[in-house]
């Protein structure tokens, strides 16, 4: 069972800001974007769930076919969503906290406005840091993984 993870950051205006995918992603034509579809479909559920609690980390917000969506919501209602199949809750929580710190650092950059995606230079730096963290996350998880393909999608400009 290969370890897979798909991670996106969605701003408060429902604009996706960042995406990354790790693991043996499906390469079949019809299911190529299944992970992104699952994450976007989970947005409504996350929205409802976020108002019921004041915690930031919502684990297991949604499930589909053995994959679990965990979400970390910031005070500014930015959602960090991770689609994963492992059960490593503590690792995922600390991953989210590190991403949150990185996000704040990028957010402070004056050239960045939340209405756009991250510009490419910043995206690359952040992407590398995140990619390393996702990699460590998969390594620490319990599932035995075989990482055939690591994909790091640069974000599509809107």
């Amino acid at each position: 069972m290969a370890g897979t993870a798909c991670f996106i950051i969605v701003s408060r205006n429902n604009i996706p800001i960042y995406e990354a995918e790790v693991g043996s992603a499906l390469k079949k034509e019809d299911a190529a974007h299944q992970h992104h579809f699952i994450l976007h479909a989970a947005l409504d559920i996350v929205q409802d769930l976020a108002w019921t609690t004041s915690a930031m980390f919502l684990k297991g917000a949604d499930k589909f076919d053995g994959l679990v969506v965990s979400v970390y919501v910031t005070a500014g209602h930015t959602r960090l969503m991770l689609l994963h199949d492992s059960r490593n809750d503590d690792g995922i929580k600390s991953f989210f906290q590190e991403v949150h710190e990185l996000y704040i650092k990028v957010y402070h950059c004056l050239c960045f406005s939340v209405m756009q995606s991250f510009p490419s230079s910043i995206r690359f730096g952040m992407g590398l840091a995140l990619f390393r963290k996702i990699w460590m996350l998969i390594l620490c998880s319990d599932s035995n993984y075989s990482c055939l393909v690591i994909l790091l999608f640069p974000f599509r400009e809107f």
Binding site: A50, A55, A75, K105, Y107, H108
Partner: protein, 176 residues
């Protein structure tokens, strides 16, 4: 994420920002200068609120967000909390700071220069100009508050009232 800057640098920067927007960039258009300064404050508030809400749980309603502004946010910015918070429970909040740090070194007495027959009107004019000049310095903190609250999901309008310096009141009106 914990580097520090000397306070005199921050105050000099603010003074220079107001001065260059009022006297250089929008020399005869104080409304435009005010709006620009407030927009800068909005951006700053937006980013600061993201940073200062990192460690704490999220807010469940407007009052909690305003209390966060009064306590944690204000103490991060000005090393003290807001002294008095009033509300009419219908979306208006008044935040009163009895000694606003950024105005604490500002001179407040306009000295009337004419002692002739038109003394009253010239005193009033001088006072008006002094109030106007001081008001310019308040657009930036108003913008900060507005930016912070917008990031927490509360669109609002913020204005400042300096009827008795060095105390300063910020009136927050939440847009319904």
């Amino acid at each position: 994420m914990g580097r520090e800057v000397s306070e005199s640098c921050v105050e000099s920067l603010l003074t220079e920002m107001v001065s260059s927007y009022c006297n250089q960039f929008y020399a005869n258009k104080p409304e435009l200068a005010a709006r620009r300064i407030e927009a800068i404050g909005y951006d700053v508030g937006h980013r600061l609120s993201e940073r200062y809400t990192m460690e704490r749980p999220r807010f469940s309603d407007h009052l909690e967000a305003i209390k966060f502004i009064c306590k944690d946010f204000w103490s991060e910015l000005f090393k003290k909390q807001i002294d008095n918070l009033k509300t009419n429970h219908r979306g208006t909040f008044v935040l009163q700071d009895n000694r606003f740090r950024w105005l604490s070194r500002m001179s407040i007495d306009p000295s009337p220069e004419n002692t002739g027959l038109s003394q009253d009107s010239s005193v009033a004019l001088a006072e008006n100009k002094a109030t106007q000049a001081t008001n310019m310095y308040l657009y930036f903190p108003c913008g900060i508050i507005r930016g912070a609250l917008s990031n927490l999901g509360i669109p609002c309008a913020v204005s400042a009232d300096i009827s008795n310096l060095p105390a300063c009141s910020f009136v927050v009106r939440i847009k319904a």
